[in-house]
Symmetry: C2
Subunit: 416 residues, 2 copies
């Protein structure tokens, strides 16, 4: 079963917002065996919406649209679909009750503009939206499905989960799509490809391997399409095992795992706690650890020491040590890691000190110079990173690299 997604809105085309809805919808649809054939982002113009819809309906059976539904004048999807289906707007009492309920719960009164949102094309089945004022709309035409949802991500997600996915599942008998992703670090795409030449030559029918490189890592995605879930899962498992053997040294996780999550699982399993002392990463390592649910079980706290005073006051780094070596130095970062560990009584710690940029570089310590210290019950190691000149990227790469150094050390040390 194939679907297409049409996202409506000039704000996407001029780059004011990144369309994150499509990726989320693609993932959800895949899980029920619906493959997304194409995603099209179009402008807030009636003719454009209609031509995109016609093109999509020629290719697939399900078209999901988001955006262009809301209380304001720049919204156009509802009127366009009304015309497209040669229908007229009718006031829907139940939808209006939902709108009223939402407003009352927020202590606000319903305005005439919001009352108009309870008008929907007679040709559609309205889908109640508990998170906002614009209902979804479900149309059927010549055995095909067209659904329109608001573009606000949490309203769209609510409608997908509560209404659209269950209705699609009950209408069609769906095939099976399986994906498995293996996460690697420390090897480039081309080197990885050379290691996997034989593997790819022997790939069975219906299976596919893709390389997804991003700064500092390459994800390997295996996909399977078919009807026999048991057989597919068995083959997939065999393929995963082969990749794991061939690329063993470089694999650090699977599927959507984040490094903060992997570290969290290791710490929980080993009953270890952690703290961080961050300078150039400015709290981002702490954020990567604490955005994981349940992280309070092993994450005790951090000190973000941007100024000299905070380094001396909070972390008791001697002023002489900073004056002699500079704040961005092996000596200072090592003591930061050791002292935060003592101060917060944790088993492990990570410390960073560097020049994130764009200013602050010197000939001997250019922008992108970052010292990392990683401490475990077995001791403290220090690492020098030489990154680029993009501040945001330096913060991110330094944070992820530091966490990965800790992951490797915890793994090696548990083998001792």
């Amino acid at each position: 079963m194939l679907a297409e997604i049409i996202t409506i809105g000039d704000e996407i085309l001029i780059g004011q917002i990144v369309d994150t809805n499509s990726a989320w919808m693609g993932k959800e649809l895949n899980q029920i065996g619906v493959r997304v054939h194409q995603i099209s982002s179009v402008s807030d113009a009636k003719e454009h919406i209609i031509s995109a819809l016609n093109e999509a309906l020629e290719r697939v059976d399900i078209v999901l649209m988001t955006g262009g539904l809301g209380p304001t004048r720049d919204d156009i999807t509802k009127h366009t679909l009304c015309e497209y289906f040669d229908s007229h707007l009718v006031f829907n009492e139940e939808i209006f009750k939902d709108v009223e309920h939402l407003f009352h719960s927020r202590g606000r009164v319903v305005s005439p503009v919001n009352r108009a949102q309870a008008e929907v094309p007679a040709a559609c089945t309205p889908l109640p939206n508990k998170q906002g004022t614009a209902p979804g709309m479900w149309f059927e035409k010549e055995g095909k499905i067209i659904v329109s949802m608001p573009g606000v991500p949490y309203e769209m997600k609510h409608l997908m989960q509560e209404q659209v996915i269950p209705r699609i599942k009950s209408k069609y008998e769906l095939p099976i799509i399986l994906h498995h992703t293996i996460l690697t670090q420390g090897i480039g795409e081309s080197m990885l490809a050379e290691k996997l030449v034989e593997f790819e030559d022997n790939m069975p029918e219906g299976f596919k391997l893709a390389y997804l490189p991003s700064p500092g890592m390459v994800r390997l995605r295996l996909s399977a399409f078919g009807l026999d879930r048991v057989a597919m899962e068995k083959t997939l498992l065999r393929l995963i095992e082969t990749i794991k053997k061939v690329a063993a040294d470089f694999i650090y996780g699977e599927n959507e795992q984040q490094i903060g999550e992997i570290i969290g699982e290791m710490l929980l399993e080993k009953k270890l706690s952690i703290s961080t002392a961050e300078s150039c990463t400015g709290g981002f390592i702490s954020h990567l650890l604490t955005r994981i649910p349940g992280s309070s079980a092993y994450f005790m706290g951090s000190t973000i020491t941007y100024s000299y005073k905070s380094k001396t006051e909070v972390l008791a780094i001697p002023a002489e040590l900073i004056n002699e070596n500079g704040a961005v130095s092996e000596e200072v970062v090592r003591l930061m890691a050791d002292n935060v560990k003592k101060k917060l009584g944790t088993d492990c710690s990570i410390a960073t000190s560097g020049i994130a940029g764009p200013g602050g570089g010197t000939p001997s310590k250019p922008v992108g110079t970052v010292w990392v210290a990683v401490s475990t019950p077995k001791g403290t190691s220090t690492h020098l990173l030489r990154l680029g000149d993009d501040r945001q990227r330096n913060i991110q790469v330094a944070s992820e690299t530091a966490l990965n150094i800790l992951r490797k050390r915890l793994m090696e040390e548990s083998l001792d």
Copy 2:
């Protein structure tokens, strides 16, 4: 002048990655007066790429493609375009030198797989890529332009800035597109629309207003299309002034400004410094402040105090105060703000303590309960937020709301 963007890759369609390239390209193209008509994301399949390219060329004069260029087997764009333009691959010595240079600078040797990347269709002008191994490709056909770039964002950005944008500008005489966005908080989309009814009724020809809601804020985007830059800028300025009068109480910034940047500018202007003491936000406020270049001038440091011990040890919060009121309480969050300010010797501070979820809620303090304290030279205020049950969203909304409370206080206090 109209353009379309085609992004190639199954990883986009199955939702494994969010396509951020298109938004970035849309913004860059707009700035030179090229309007993006449509963005299409298609699969790694020859027929699909060709049909999307044909459809786009029927609608516009410029088609920019990203993805499906790289050293591995799943890459298909180069071969597809070679066939499309009825061309053949030729080995390009200069491109190969670039690849060699890149590998040598990273201390690696060129593999046969990478050597093949220096083969490009004879029909194209290869665009040298200093950031990676796959060159861009520039084709012209019947007065139209087709460009293919790798999908890795920093490689694509480099090629756009160094090659594609300058070449488009020199080939066409381009019209003018202007945008201006006004950022509002504290008012819903429909209420804002009611305030702007008259404004919209009197909107001049060639101008457009759009409402872009996202959690906790609504952005108002004014767009202008035309040929007379001076007249357009004058009208736009007048429209901006009108909106600023009508919605004065709710406007906090303009265009792409981030709250961390706005706070930073205010602190610099007032010569004030800041620190944070974060519990539930886990370092995210600190990150929002420190990702701004130059933030070390006013940001001194933070304490992330997740555990009781870190609250008592680092911030000297009395254990009795926590036992009596709970860590998530007005009393504790107020003392956190006051003590971090003293400890790091700053003029301002922000503290947070809450239940980000999904676990940890109680009947009296459900998930989403967050206490915020904001301290300035004029004193400390406390604020109770009642957020939802999504951890990541709670961390984000609590952080941005806390920064906005500080912004409002700094603004009010400078009027005293």
